[in-house]
C-alpha cells in the first residue's frame, strides 16, 4: 500500500462521513485515481457505515423531538454517544492496520509466555521430584523404595540394599540425589521415634 499518512487520515475521515467541500472532492479524486485508496476505504468501510448510521439516527431523533428539554437532553446524550462511537471508530480504524500487523506478534508473545510458564512449571516440578529432602529430624521426605524388602539393584548407586529389618524401629530405604545431583545416594533411615 502506497498511501501517505495524510491520505490515510483523509480517507478515514471520508469513510466516517466527516469530509465536505474541497476535502470531499479531493477524497473523490484520490479514490478515482488510486486503487490502494479504494481498497483502504473498503477495509474501513464497515466502520464508516456504522458511524454514519449512528450519525443519521441522532439526526432523526433530533427532528422527531417535540419537547425542547427532552430534545436538548436527547441531543446532548446522542451527541455524547456519537462522539464516543466516533472516537471508538477512529481508534479502531487507526488500530486496524496495526492490529493486523501486531496480531501475529501478540500471538507469538502469548505463546512464548505460555511456553515460558510451562517450562518454569516443568522445571520446578522436576526440581521438586529430584531433590526430596528431609525436614527436621524425621525421615527424609523422599520416595520410599523398600521397607523390609530387597531394594532393586542396578540403580546406579553401586549399592544394593538386600534386606532391611530392625525390630522396634521403622527403617526405610531412600534413593536420593546427592548434593551435586549427578549421582544418587542410598540412605537407610532409622526412625527411632516410632518405637
Amino acid at each position: 500500500m502506497s498511501l501517505s499518512s495524510d491520505n490515510m487520515m483523509k480517507l478515514m475521515a471520508y469513510a466516517d462521513g466527516e469530509l465536505d467541500g474541497a476535502d470531499l472532492e479531493e477524497a473523490h479524486k484520490l479514490l478515482a485515481t488510486d486503487p490502494d485508496s479504494v481498497r483502504f476505504v473498503e477495509q474501513i468501510g464497515g466502520l464508516g457505515q456504522m458511524v454514519s448510521l449512528g450519525y443519521e439516527a441522532s439526526t432523526a431523533k433530533t427532528v422527531a423531538a417535540f419537547d425542547v428539554t427532552d430534545a436538548v437532553m436527547a441531543l446532548a446524550k446522542e451527541d455524547k454517544q456519537d462522539k464516543l462511537e466516533r472516537k471508538a471508530a477512529v481508534v479502531s480504524s487507526l488500530g486496524a492496520a496495526r492490529e493486523k500487523r501486531n496480531s501475529l506478534k501478540i500471538g507469538a508473545g502469548i505463546a512464548a509466555a505460555l511456553a515460558l510458564a510451562a517450562s518454569v512449571f516443568v522445571f520446578a516440578q522436576h526440581r521438586t521430584e529430584e531433590t526430596p529432602m528431609a525436614k527436621g529430624p524425621s525421615a527424609p521426605a523422599a520416595q520410599t523404595v523398600a521397607v523390609a524388602t530387597p531394594a532393586p539393584s542396578g540403580n546406579g548407586t553401586g549399592v544394593e540394599v538386600n534386606t532391611v529389618s530392625s525390630p522396634g524401629n521403622s527403617v526405610s530405604v531412600f534413593y536420593l540425589p546427592s548434593a551435586n545431583e549427578l549421582s544418587t545416594s542410598v540412605v537407610v533411615w532409622v526412625d527411632e521415634g516410632e518405637k
Binding site: 531433590t131 540394599v161 522396634g168 536420593l176 548434593a179 545416594s185
Partner: protein, 162 residues
C-alpha cells in the same frame, strides 16, 4: 672454539640419580605403609551430625554432605573398620550406641562387590538391632542415619575400601 673440548652435561645425570633415589625411597616406604593397615577390605565409617540451624554450615571435613535436609553438618569421627568374616567391626557413636559392621564376603562378580550387614546396639545395650544388609561396589558411599542426637540426627557415611 676448537681448543675447548665440549663437556658432557652434568645436570641430566644428577637428575637420573635423584629419580632413582626417590624411587628407592618410595619402594622402601611402601611396605611400611602397608604394615600399618590390616590387609583385606575395610569399611570407612564417617560419623556425621546433621542439625537444624539458621545459617547453613558444612564442615570441610564432611566433604559432600548427605542428601538429607539439614543445613548444618559436622563430622564427629572417621574410622576404618577391618572387614573380617566372623568378626564384626564396631565403633561407639556419639550418642553412646555402638554401630556394627559385619562382613559377609565378596560377591563372585568381577570385580567383586562386598556384602556387609549393619546393626546398632539397642538403647538398653542388651544386644543389637539389625539395620540393613548392603552389597556395595568398592568406594561407593551409602548412608545409614536417623539416630537422634543433640537435636539433630547422626548419619553414618560408609564406603567399602578393598
Amino acid at each position: 672454539m676448537r681448543g675447548l673440548p665440549r663437556r658432557p652435561p652434568a645436570a641430566p645425570a644428577k637428575l637420573v640419580l635423584a629419580s632413582v633415589l626417590a624411587a628407592c625411597a618410595l619402594l622402601a616406604g611402601a611396605p611400611a605403609t602397608a604394615d600399618a593397615q590390616p590387609a583385606g577390605p575395610k569399611a570407612e565409617v564417617t560419623v556425621l551430625l546433621g542439625t537444624p540451624c539458621a545459617v547453613k554450615k558444612v564442615d570441610p571435613e564432611v566433604g559432600e554432605p548427605p542428601p538429607i535436609n539439614y543445613p548444618c553438618w559436622k563430622m564427629s569421627e572417621r574410622k576404618l573398620l577391618p572387614l573380617v568374616q566372623g568378626t564384626p567391626g564396631t565403633m561407639v557413636l556419639p550418642n553412646g550406641r555402638t554401630f556394627q559392621v559385619a562382613y559377609n564376603g565378596p560377591t563372585p562378580d568381577k570385580p567383586p562387590r562386598f556384602k556387609v550387614s549393619t546393626s546398632i546396639s539397642k538403647p538398653d545395650a542388651t544386644g543389637f538391632n539389625p539395620l540393613a544388609d548392603f552389597t556395595a561396589e568398592p568406594g561407593k558411599k551409602f548412608h545409614v542415619g536417623g539416630f537422634v542426637h543433640q537435636g539433630g540426627s547422626l548419619v553414618l557415611a560408609i564406603r567399602i575400601l578393598p
